[in-house]
């Protein structure tokens, strides 16, 4: 099993490198950071444009630029932005903001998605099943860029009804908020609820559909009948034998779901004005900055691949056939 996981890990590292290289190359080939400088009025002297070009390594071929950049990344230096500020300074804070959102979103999404799927499958064609189906159909047709503003609208209604701002939908903390640790946490929670919902609802819908159909497959299987025949209660049979088997195909979906989550996170951050990695990508493309873009891509690739690798671990843990091979 260790060999299997190690081989997958190597495969993933190669994929992440290729993805980052592609993003860096595409970005370097399309972006024109000098163009902004040249359009200034009065036009800057040719010498300073040349100097800027040298600073940004634009005089070098793109593969060489990538090697230079990657060499820095290995040492923990992600290069400088077009405005000549070190990327590493901002990186940690932005990763923290995004990861908080992703981890909460995916945890809530998987937990409730699996739960909803299992309940729908066990109570197939009952009212709760129809309700869950309708709920996930609507949510799957509703991108985050619609869901986010709708949640804001709902929160505003709720705040008006209660009379105080319970749910806050701008930023991740109140600027200049004073208070002890406990109050700080409360303030962050108030900011956190809506963006997390915006991400998690879609994930719940996504996972519950697949969990429902994989659970339905298992419900009709012989081994579940046998488990009950040998004396297990239905509940025990369902959760010890049924759910475990029904979770196996879900493990492979995990990586897929995470990709969706990362893209959805970009919208969430924009809509709720969080300054995370998704927001940085938009800023990076806006300022035609290849280094920022490549850094965000590397982050996305590492996230997706880590979740893919985690899926492999889960897969191996759930499915004995993998461990034996």
């Amino acid at each position: 099993m260790a060999g299997f996981l190690l081989r997958r890990l190597v495969n993933y590292v190669v994929l992440a490198l290729v993805a980052t290289f592609l993003a860096f190359t595409l970005a370097s080939a399309t972006f024109d950071p000098i163009g902004v400088l040249q359009q200034r009025n009065p036009p800057p002297p040719a010498a300073s444009i040349e100097a800027k070009k040298r600073d940004l390594h634009l005089d070098q071929p793109i593969p060489q630029r990538f090697v230079t950049w990657m060499g820095g990344v290995v040492k923990g230096d992600f290069g400088r932005t077009v405005a000549d500020r070190p990327i590493t300074d901002e990186l940690g804070r932005r990763i923290g903001v995004s990861l908080r959102l992703f981890l909460l979103g995916i945890t809530i999404g998987i937990l409730f998605g699996v739960l909803l799927g299992v309940v729908s499958a066990i109570r197939q064609y009952k009212f709760s099943d129809y309700f869950a189906t309708l709920f996930s159909f609507i949510l799957l047709s509703m991108p985050v860029l619609v869901l986010g503003p709708l949640l804001k609208l709902g929160a505003q209604g709720l705040n008006d009804a209660i009379g105080t701002n319970v749910l806050i939908f701008v930023g991740e903390t109140t600027p200049g908020f004073q208070g002890n640790w406990f109050e700080q946490l409360g303030d962050r929670l108030q900011h956190l609820i809506l963006p997390t919902l915006a991400i998690a609802l879609g994930q719940i819908a996504f996972y519950s559909r697949y969990q429902r159909s994989s659970m339905l497959d298992v419900l009709g299987s012989d081994f579940l009948r046998t488990a009950q025949a040998k004396g297990l209660t239905r509940r025990k049979a369902l959760f010890k034998h049924g759910l475990r088997t029904a979770l196996i195909p879900m493990a492979t979906l995990f990586a897929f779901g995470f990709g969706l989550l990362v893209v959805g996170g970009t919208f969430t951050e924009k809509i709720f004005t969080w300054y995370g990695m998704g927001d940085w990508l938009v800023v990076g493309i806006g300022s035609q900055d290849a280094n920022i873009t490549a850094t965000v891509t590397l982050f996305v690739a590492v996230c997706v691949l880590f979740s893919g690798w985690l899926a492999d671990v889960l897969y191996a843990a759930l499915d004995p056939r993998i461990r034996v091979n």
Binding site: F137, L153, P249, I271, T297, V300
Partner: protein, 325 residues
């Protein structure tokens, strides 16, 4: 009636591609062709029917609606700025006095055209590449599988966003090409899996031994036998293309002004969702209802055209998983 349908189901699943009338039909004057069977099965699904009506209605409304209105997208009503919906402007007006109904319809036009074109192009590419990869195997096949893996790590959203400065100010058709260029891979993988089984069938072998060249076998025997899958896929792809387009346009990476799409409208007005909700709710509502309708029609088509499709898909997934392990 149910008897006939069951007979038809059985004929369909055993792969009677001849489209011959079912012999056991009790009413010999009403021949049950495959087309009729599919139609009846589709009509039975009420949600799919509703979806179809909604989709056709939306295409009509998008193109005919603006002609019936007395406003156009480039005239402003100077007596109505930021007015909520009322008799004169049924969707309200924006801050320069443009009628929101006409503007939303204009956005809907562009989004629907982009959705349709992307779906057609990407499904065509998927059919050709997937069938060729499955038929010839070898290096092209390896490359295809690898590209699909890579896309999982490097979401197409990211790639198109990075390339967006390059097609800024150019025709929106470039966006269609870009979206199509990144949407075919997953379908191609499913097509490849089906080709692997199809090419072992007798009629394909017969054609091969009679000396038919490979490209004719693919065009005349393999692709037509996957028509059901391709039709379903093209339908679903319309929805995902519209979602991808709106996502990109939301950030200004997709459709560029002076063109308007649902995505640019939502992006422009998402901030106003809590203050002037009608600016946001109408474009967002059209988007969600359209995607929902497409998903319902897709599901209905799947049930009608291909009762065994879920099994095929699951098998394909299992195949790829075994390969991954």
């Amino acid at each position: 009636m149910t008897v006939i349908l069951n007979e038809g189901d059985a004929a369909g699943t055993t792969g009677a591609a001849s489209g011959s009338p079912v012999d056991a039909a009790p009413e010999p004057d009403k021949a049950m062709t495959r087309g009729r069977l599919v139609l009846i099965r589709f009509m039975r699904n009420k949600l799919a029917l509703v979806g179809l009506v909604v989709i056709v209605g939306m295409y009509l409304m998008a193109f005919v609606g603006p002609l019936l209105s007395k406003w156009t997208y480039d005239t402003q009503d100077y007596s109505a700025f930021l007015e909520p919906p009322y008799s004169e402007h049924i969707f309200g007006t924006d801050k320069i006095g443009t009628d929101m109904f006409v503007l939303t319809m204009r956005g809907l036009q562009k989004s629907l055209i982009i959705g349709l074109l992307v779906a057609l192009i990407s499904t065509t590419i998927a059919a050709i590449v997937g069938a060729a990869a499955g038929y010839f195997l070898g290096a092209a096949d390896k490359a295809l599988m690898w590209v699909v893996d890579l896309l999982l790590v490097l979401p197409s959203f990211l790639i198109i966003a990075i390339l967006s400065p390059w097609f800024r100010g150019k025709s929106w058709f470039l966006l269609v090409v870009m979206l199509a260029a990144f949407q075919w891979m997953i379908t191609a993988r499913i097509v490849r899996g089906m080709t692997l089984t199809l090419k072992e069938r007798e009629f394909v072998k017969a054609a091969k031994f009679m000396g038919q060249p490979a490209r004719k076998i693919i065009a005349k025997h393999i692709v037509p036998n996957m028509a059901s899958l391709l039709i379903i896929d093209a339908t679903i792809n319309v929805g995902s293309a519209v979602l991808a387009e709106t996502g990109l346009s939301f950030f200004g990476f997709g459709v560029q002004s002076p063109d308007v799409s649902l995505g640019t409208l939502i992006g422009l007005n998402a901030e106003s969702a809590t203050t002037f909700p009608w600016l946001f709710l109408f474009p967002a509502g059209f988007l969600v209802v359209f995607v929902l309708a497409v998903n319902w029609v897709g599901d209905g088509l799947r049930d009608a055209l291909d009762p065994t499709s879920t099994r095929v898909r699951r098998k394909e997934k299992k195949d790829t998983k075994e390969k991954a392990a």
